[in-house]
Amino acid sequence: MASDASTVAPLSAGQIIEGFRLEERTHQGGMASLWRVSSVAGNDALPLIMKVPRLRGGDDPTTVVGFEVEQMILPTLSGPHVPKFVARGDFAQQPCIVMERIAGSSLRERLDAAPLTIAEVVKIGTKIAIALHDLHRQHVVHLDVKPSNVMFRPGPDGQIGDAVLIDFGLARHAHLPDLLEEEFELPMGTAPYMSPEQVQFVRSDPRSDLFALGVTLYHLATGARAFGNPSSVAGLRRRLYRDPVPPRALRPDCPPWLQEIILRCLDADPNRRHQSAAQLAFDLQNPDQVVLTDRAERRSRHGALRTLRRWFAALGAQPRERWTPSQLAARSPIVLAAVDVAAATPALLQAQCQTVQRVMQTEPGARLACVAVMKTHRIAMDEPMESDGSSKHVNLLVQLKHWARPLVQSLALERRDEDARVTFHVLEAADVAAAIIEFARKNQVDHIVIGARSSSMLRRYLGSVSTQVVAESGCNVTVVRATE
């Protein structure tokens, strides 16, 4: 049953390892096999699988060290975007990792169906970006993001739920020793998905994961590989200077904003990609806010001259400054300014503007989402207020932009290049606080700046939006008061 190259005794169903009974082998891969298991004690809170490495010739460093790395990193991770770690088995006996079995399917299965609908590509991209942001916040870069390493929990109504990242055999934890650093003379990763900096032996940049996600989205949107599947180092290095065929050349109905996002992910320079997975998720969820550069309309690859210039530049290039995953996530926060442009006093609006300016100044990588909420009546759905509603909507947007003007100017937030750092959103909701909280959750917002109603009378009558936001949102909240 196990391959004849295996040096350990073949495993069979019914066998007990580390207190877990092997039920059924569910997968046999080149590096490891997976078994459905249950604990002998019979008190499993979760369905479980056991991952058992295939040790070829007993001494294969790729498998052995990769497994060592996964045994070290997986137990430190938590949350819905990783399988929950349960137990590990020593190399002295039977090396293994027991973890939560994810019920859903791997993205690998959808790859064969590519090109997918644009809506599905965007949904998949958003979910993976959110999962990556959660991972990066836990100080870990995955470094092997690809369809077969992404699973989706089952969602409601047969939809896909949260993305789950699996296989941490190449991952790097910024606060733990990197056991792989010295082990190999060749770049480590999966050839089609490996970032240019991984090709240059950098194993610490979280933006490498965004590149790999970009390759994945490119494939899902076009059905083609962005950089082929090279088998030599020279072939891998080509992505340092050769840009991919723009997705719209292969798929004309790919919207310009999606091409903008994908090509930005695939930029050879990590400084020109999104600076955090949350910012990528934000763009995917707010397509009308994506600033389109020349990337968006490109129909062909760069010419020979430009490629040659980049080839020379790549020759002696060393990757520049390095950030740890959590540093980068913290350096590139998303700040939400919840502005009651219609009702707040001028003094409060000014105070809020100054506070937002201070917050934005401290972090050059910060992005600002300005949000106004248009209060709708719960029962007004079928009332003939369409035209009135839409003019109200536009009016709020105009006021919101007017409010932000001093900020945009003094912080140069709206340079006409790729780095749009400010976006404007008018939400329509019956419950203002709930709408702000939901927007913040959905867009991985780090910091909300909100004004407090000045009149205590009004507060008593209407309730305090800011109080509810402080109590219920998961992020930092600054409540601004006007000092009069």
Partner: protein, 247 residues
């Protein structure tokens, strides 16, 4: 079992008190003192008494080069301020304290753990484990999976794979590191009594022998007070200053 690893205490009572209190809060069940109990600081007697009392209760303690110098006279390679302190320290210690230092072993082992002040390849020559080459040399000299040493004042963790590849790592305080059973490890907790990595907070590490998990800690302490005592004792001014800078 939680084993607290404390090294290069250097007669710094304020630092050692803070480290011991922190280790107790962290659930230390046993202590290992990796040498250099004296030298540089103003409280050699107090620190030697503390280590002696802990050894009576089962602690591990090995001899450092400063301890050896107080017993046998300074070595030729010692810096001028260090030599000056050796003479002063000798006068501060009573016979029992000096006898205790003289009785310390250079190396101790316990299960798969080796304790030594400088390195495992030539413990009496006090060569520093400054990089991977020395770490490999030290790990090759022992069958123990874990080597704990001091002498180098900056915290560091080295590892050696069966393939012969070694790595080094500057630990992040407070982050538990599961030491893989697949390789050998050499850990330098960093100096409790005279940190030198730019951070004045005292260093030590905690090793959970059951899960082979190592956590490096930094403990802030009243280094101003320790510096005042050094000046009051007439010891070199520079020794007080470096406690403030942690350099």
């Amino acid at each position: 079992m939680n084993l607290a690893l404390i090294t290069d205490l250097h007669a710094n009572r304020e630092a050692v008190e803070s480290v011991m209190a922190h280790a107790e809060r962290e659930g230390a069940q046993r202590y290992a003192f990796l040498g250099d109990f004296v030298g540089y600081g103003a409280d050699p007697g107090w620190v030697v008494d503390l280590v002696r009392a802990e050894v009576k209760r089962g602690a591990i303690a090995v001899m450092g080069n400063h301890d050896a110098a107080v017993v046998k006279g300074p070595t030729p390679t010692m810096t001028a301020p260090a030599r000056q302190v050796v003479g002063w320290t000798r006068d501060q210690l009573n016979g029992a304290q000096r006898d205790f230092l003289a009785s310390l072993p250079l190396v101790m082992t316990d299960a798969d753990r080796l304790f030594v002040h400088a390195n495992a390849f030539a413990p009496t020559e006090w060569a520093y484990v400054l990089g991977r080459m020395e770490a490999i040399r030290s790990l090759h000299s022992t069958h123990c999976r874990f080597t704990f040493c001091g002498h180098v004042h900056e915290p560091k963790l080295f590892h050696l794979a069966p393939t012969g590849k070694a790595g080094d790592f500057t630990p992040v305080p407070g982050v538990p590191i599961a030491l893989s059973p697949q390789r050998q490890w050499l850990a330098i907790p960093g100096s409790a009594g005279q940190p030198r990595d730019g951070n004045p907070a005292a260093c030590y590490a905690m090793f959970d022998t059951g899960s082979a998990t190592l956590t490096f800690h930094r403990v802030p302490y009243d280094h101003e007070a320790a510096g005042v005592k050094i000046r009051a004792a007439g010891l070199p001014q520079s020794l007080a200053e470096r406690l403030v800078d942690g350099e």
